[in-house]
Point group: C3
């Protein structure tokens, strides 16, 4: 399911009502008396807030009893926002049903051992509960009807962080729904038996009602059953989202709908999901204690931007300082929140929002940072000061709104491969996110713009496509890659790709199955390595090292660029290149650490003339956004020391300071610049 052309937007910005960078956060004022709301309005205006997400966890306030709804407080809140020129990202409030609803059997989800999830935190509902669906639909209809014409309404926020906690359900209703889904997919029970390979381990089903969700089995469950269950759960939860969207679109056709994604998130196939909403957004929580936290965000931003090609995304949640759900929750040092906020814009965001506006005094997230924190008087303190400064910065970036990033490099990712690859009973333990984020990171470190693409995406605009660990590869996707190569593209496939087809069935006779001709090779065997093992690889005069994995590769037209050494694989190809049509196809039969992989990739980047917009020192991120009128050069210094960046021909005005940028620009530690370049 390649990304479709998005529905046209009624304006150049994502939200017709707001022609500037979106700025704000989750706002849960139901936790405070209404006099506090007025203080909130004043402070929001001070901070430059123009959009707040409201009602996300308000179901119990909106419908305190099964037959009692209470919209008065929300009416007053919406009016207050409108009076203050602040728009609402109005949530459908379905993310956490009220406790009274749990009295209905089947309302709560059931885990793989049959334990029912209890209410008392959030997201405990079963996506298969008809009661949940009925109550949710009714609530959404009421909200849409009530606020359809409210001047504050700018955007619908469907549910919240779908599948964040509950990614499986094994209730009777879930099992029944799985059977229906399977029936639709396979037609007959024999179709399912064929697909799942039930001839092995005596798993043959005679009737649909024998089929279960994969649960508590003595050993490895059927792999295709597991894969189908992943597909099914992603679809089933998406079905909830579409149900709400359809109601909203029917009543408020002009108000965009959105739901917040979770970045590189395995449980949901965001390629499918992104088709169903008007633009993408995500909640980004890098851990400041990791070595280079900016990498986490960069990869997520690139994915989110790619899910709906040509359309900016929104950073729907981030924290002002620290979260509270890790064992240790380090805070962002001064300046870092601004830097990482601008990074999201640099990589394609048209809005920056926080969880949450005012820090809770009670409940499970009271130690999660906020725009207005508890350690100071409201409107005071370091964090609020930085929040205000960021609001001012974003205000200056209005010209950037709607501009896009043009990439010549793409990384192919596929949720089907992700699910299948990381299921049990494999030759070794693969980590799909590690594989694709390593490629993304190597591009990031070179300031080469990179998109993510679907196996069915139109690849014609790219010079170079990476396909890391594309374990499950359908014939038509392979054909897409082959055509890309024949038309002049450069393809780089990494190990253990093209192993299985759509039903996780091995394609026999040598790997990577449908790509053998494209790559000019046949892989016969795999040689997983122990966790600490490193085996030498000869690459010209260099000695590099393989880790985790090696393969026996036979050349069928390709040439070996590097060979293994050190044991029985000595002399056997490790990296190959095949010239095909107007293009070239590379294959890497191993895994490598970053510096070693860089030695292999840099010559390819060079040959394809893929380079950063400007040459910046290590630690300085450079991106380019552009529209028909201008280009915007983003320069972000992730280092704790100042950095001088020579601009070459790229001169213009720094939108943040108004200063002219000529031959070079110097960024403070954690500093940033956004230079508007005239299109030449």
């Amino acid at each position: 399911m390649p990304p479709a052309k998005p529905r046209p937007l009624p304006a150049k910005s994502l939200l017709p009502k707001i022609n500037q960078m979106l700025y704000g956060g989750d706002y849960n004022p139901e936790q405070w008396p209404e006099e506090t709301w007025r203080e909130d309005m004043r402070l929001m205006r001070e901070a430059g807030v123009n959009l707040v997400s409201i009602g996300i966890f308000a179901w119990a306030k909106l419908q305190p009893r099964e037959k009692t709804c209470s919209f008065g407080w929300l009416d007053r809140l919406m009016d207050l926002l409108a009076e203050n020129g602040i728009y609402a990202n109005l949530a459908t409030a379905t993310a956490s049903p009220p406790p009274w609803m749990s009295k209905y059997p089947g309302l709560n989800a059931v885990d793989g051992k049959g334990h029912v999830w209890a209410h008392g935190s959030r997201q405990h509902y079963s996506p298969f509960s008809t009661v949940y669906r009925r109550f949710a639909a009714a609530l959404v209809r009421k909200l849409a009807t009530r606020y359809r014409s409210h001047p504050a309404l700018a955007l619908w926020h469907i549910n919240n962080e779908y599948a964040c906690h509950v990614q499986e359900c094994h209730s009777e209703a879930a099992t029944a729904a799985f059977r229906i889904w399977l029936k639709a997919r396979y037609g007959s029970i024999e179709g399912l038996n064929d697909a799942w390979g039930t001839a092995f381990w005596s798993q043959h089903y005679q009737d649909w009602d024998e089929v279960l969700t994969p649960r508590h089995t003595p050993t490895f469950p059927n792999p295709c059953q597991v894969l189908d269950y992943h597909r099914f759960m992603s679809d089933a939860i998406l079905d909830l989202c579409k149900m709400e969207r359809d109601i909203l679109r029917a009543i408020t056709p002009d108000i965009p709908v959105n739901t917040n994604f979770m970045g590189c998130f395995k449980p949901l196939d965001y390629w499918k999901w992104a088709r169903e909403i008007d633009f993408t957004s995500w909640d980004a929580y890098p851990d400041p204690l990791t070595e280079r936290p900016e990498l986490f965000d960069a990869c997520g931003h690139d994915l989110l931007r790619s899910l709906k090609p040509g359309r900016p995304f929104v950073l729907m949640e981030q924290c002002s300082s620290h979260v509270n759900w890790r064992p240790v929750n380090a805070a962002k040092p001064p300046g870092v929140m601004r830097l990482w906020s601008l990074q999201s814009v640099a990589r394609g965001a048209d809005g920056v929002l926080f969880f949450q506006w005012r820090q809770s005094l009670a409940g499970a997230e009271k130690f999660h940072g906020a725009m207005v924190q508890n350690g100071s008087q409201p409107g005071q303190g370091r964090v609020f000061r930085e929040v205000c400064e960021l609001g001012a910065d974003l205000g200056k970036l209005a010209p950037v709104v709607g501009s896009v990033i043009r990439s010549k490099v793409a990384i192919m990712i596929d949720w089907q491969s992700w699910w299948a690859l990381e299921s049990p009973s494999k030759p070794a333990q693969f980590h799909y996110e590690k594989a694709f984020s390593q490629i993304q990171r190597l591009c990031f470190d070179r300031n080469i713009a990179v998109d993510f693409v679907h196996p069915g995406s139109d690849l014609s605009g790219y010079s170079l496509v990476f396909a890391p660990n594309l374990y499950l590869l359908e014939k038509q996707s392979a054909d897409n890659l082959d055509a890309f190569v024949r038309n002049g593209g450069t393809l780089l496939v990494t190990c253990f790709s093209g192993i299985v087809d759509r039903e996780e069935r091995i394609v026999p006779g040598g790997y990577p199955a449908y790509l053998r001709e494209t790559l000019g090779i046949a892989v016969e065997e795999w040689w997983p390595l122990g966790p600490e093992q490193r085996m030498p690889v000869r690459f010209g005069r260099r000695s590099l090292h393989a880790r985790d994995w090696r393969e026996t590769i036979h050349l069928r037209g390709a040439k070996a660029l590097a060979t293994f050494a050190g044991d029985h694989l000595a002399g056997s190809p490790a990296v190959t290149r095949n010239r095909r049509g107007a293009g070239q196809a590379y294959y890497l039969g191993m895994q490598m650490d970053d510096p070693d992989l860089a030695h292999l990739l840099d010559p390819i980047f060079s040959r394809l003339k893929l380079a950063a917009p400007v040459r910046a020192p290590a630690g300085v991120e450079v991106t380019l956004r552009e529209n028909s009128r201008a280009k915007f050069l983003f320069l972000l210094n992730h280092k704790e020391t100042a950095a001088r960046i020579p601009l070459g021909a790229h001169q213009g005005t720094d939108l943040l300071t108004g200063a002219k940028a000529r031959a070079a620009i110097t960024l403070e530690p954690h500093g940033a610049a956004v230079i508007a370049l005239a299109i030449t």
Copy 2:
């Protein structure tokens, strides 16, 4: 609930019938034929035993069938003890109900995922089972009635190690009881909603029957729900204890009642528990494989002594050599059991007992050491020899009975803070016991006597009070601390204190909430550190290091004694001191390793002239017990080499050897002395 004045004792000793150090152990003779009992009596007399705990796991022997009781064997046992001049700490035998009782639904406890605990080990009963309560009450009543006048009866042992294994129950009865407890606490469901902050995450309850014990939720449960569940469970189990106590006191008003505590044990609020029994006792099992095992005991002894101020406690269980429930159960080398036994007396114990008298031949504790071990013939072997020697030593310490320890230093601990601090969704993972035991250890290493106090305790007798990690702090407790300072006391509060009030609700506007004025500071932000991170702290000319945690502290009258360095916090206060009224209040905005913390504390100890009774080399423990007639100087050498301790003015007679101690005394490796000093 500060400690109340204890019920007066009818004698200077804890047990009116025994005016000497209590000595003995758990005695479970129902495992042997009665001829073995006679051998036991002979050996007990040889060992100097005067008290044995009997019947602790005898319910199934006393009531082998629901309607059949069998007291004959216990009659004979009690008579035999009386004949031999040995007293009984008679257990109520309710710690482990017989298997036949499990046929009653609801008898067994239920874990958080709904699994019912099975009989077959011990303590599987639900504290909320009315059947259990009914059978337990009947048994206690029968025992008390039958043995009320028996000459061997010296003490009642209620149940055993409450909550040792089962600390939660989520049965329907437990849930119902939780609702009743909450109703009593909050009055109305809206009161509960306010307290728990259910406005967040859509947790608003409309009716009591929607409220659950905190169980199997997809993510963090409501924090105040968790805190209340801790309070509730501690209360509910205490209620069982009180039920038994009331029966016993009604029938045998002159026999003291006790139940054995578990030391620094989080599940039960021992401040509350200690009020309900006549004296405290605990079961101490230091691990000889830890670096300095004597620290574990020292902290436990100090707590147990403090729970009932002015009254000695009893070491109710220890092992003669090794336990059997750790992965590796190292044994105490020769001499160590004696040393640690005397340590308990040195820190306030008036009795030393073991688990158990005779080592079992079968069952789950047959590899737990005992006074009479299986590896030798009864009455022989190293362990029994040391048991006899200890009996003789304790016999010489009769003059010490009833004497107390006078401390000028106190450490405040509060189970509410413990429970709340260690619940999930915090800025970092705190370990309350590590925090208070670090302070205790630094005092121990200086041989400065220290008490534990409750936030509501009378502090007027102390010079110095520590309040480590007092996360939950009610206003009236803060007022108690403030008054202590204004009246001339020195207070030292450590980081992340005074954050929340009684319902775990943040007190906004800067921390430590109700102590800001006392401390003359306002804390705005927290900066948790990674597990391996160390950040520099400037303290005069010294460079110390913070670990785990730092804070942004604003001075509001206090002075900075030390400052952070090395990053954006450079120059910001790390340690502050505020002069207030006649006293001083210190604040530590970080955590530190022992040696660094010592640099901060030693000047305070010096200023307050807090020092050891005598100056002893490192590794030698010194304490002072006193009564109106004498002082007893305890000297304990924890080292494997001899130690010479100069006594200065403290001369007297070593009760253990009868030797006069003059200018100095030399202790063998693991040696000890108890010098009786005339009060001067």
Copy 3:
């Protein structure tokens, strides 16, 4: 239950129909269309296959619905095999019941927390389901009746890898069966109470229906209950096996029956199991990533050979290259599969089979290596080439068939000790397999042949018997050992032996209980060490080290050969020797690393003149198989370099090459030779 004399075989080989080394693998052709079968036949003949295991997971194919059986495909398969001269190891197909059977309540096993295992993988059935037993018996009867006279039928394969995944069941039927088993063992409930020591912890049972399988208890369950549950489960699963065997033997008395064991596998008492089948076989999966993988196989082979003394075993499953159920599944480098296959023959196997013939395209084992792998065209590739070469090698080893290994050294192992020793609540954590495999390894490294023996085995043929960690030791077993010593044997007992009797009840008065006189010692105390601790041991002039464990040993006639040093145990015996009758009995009161233990054992080996058949360099394995006509010297080079082995007097012909071997032979890396020596 010592090993009984095996039922006589009707021929010198295990299978009357095949008078050569058995060669083949699991064959699951129901996964492919029948045209593929014909390709399989051709390739099998090419590879030299003479036996395939069929139908192991075919229940759902044979009985797709409850009342529908489908044998047509199996008829055709059997005919095809017969046509091609390949024999069938025909499985009873009961290892994995079809999904339709799960509709019967109680069909599926239940874990200790009450979760029912689901179908969807394999082996989910409860051994206590009467429905399962009924369907299984019916199927076995049908198969035996149908194929009783089929020319392809050579062997019955009962079920498959019993207890591989499901080793416990706590269903109501399991609990009822446990009670019946206990009743048969103990006669009365008081008998059970005595045996289990229920007088402790109030566990006394008044009625059988109160007794449970050991499940979800708050702390340690009753140890003898746990031990009995192990015995019961081993017996109950064996009962399934015997039920099938009895049906098969009744219908096909001349066809041998077998079931594949799992090597050194704790759940099943293979001493008991081996009595019930005609010969033993096992599935051997060494991990190539371990340091010396050949050790794993060597120990398993020695055990399997010993389970049925004097009769060869079969290597029923191994992998051609790699498995797929470890986190990382390294493949065997070229030559290693052959080497390890020949190793099995060297240690007593008369057959080498694989899992599986053709690699699956789907299902949970599609990444498990096979004789015909997916990465190549069928009949091509490295693995198939090596499979063919091995077939040729084995063909040359027909003379070896039926020959045996004669050992003068034995290691005593007992499943009762294993189960009891590794149950919780012990002085330290023992690993029984580590203990006995360490002794086996030291013999292996010296190429000294070693058998395993049961405590009740006839020991008269041995010079040296090891009894490592024989924790549970019955009086009559001790008498067996004592007689062995008195008759001139050398016995070596290691620490923590002879502690408990049959009901895991301590034998008091000094250890090792019934062996005290034999050993001339009495052990009084144990001193477990921390995981990193090493304590010095003086042995003559050498300084060795104890790890994990030390003991206080009193000499009662024995002499100390080594003593502890370094702490309070200094000078205390660590190793003792007792002369008794015509023999000697050694005791080791500690654990040691291999090199240290070797210093103690080598003098004993020397004294008893126990040595390798030829002196080979380290890394070269040497064994000797013999029959009445010839001896076969196996030489296996486990090193990656060539090795030269001087043959001395052992000259003959290498069966693999046909070359004469004289003064010495040189083996390539991973090379092997099988030299037929004339009996002199």
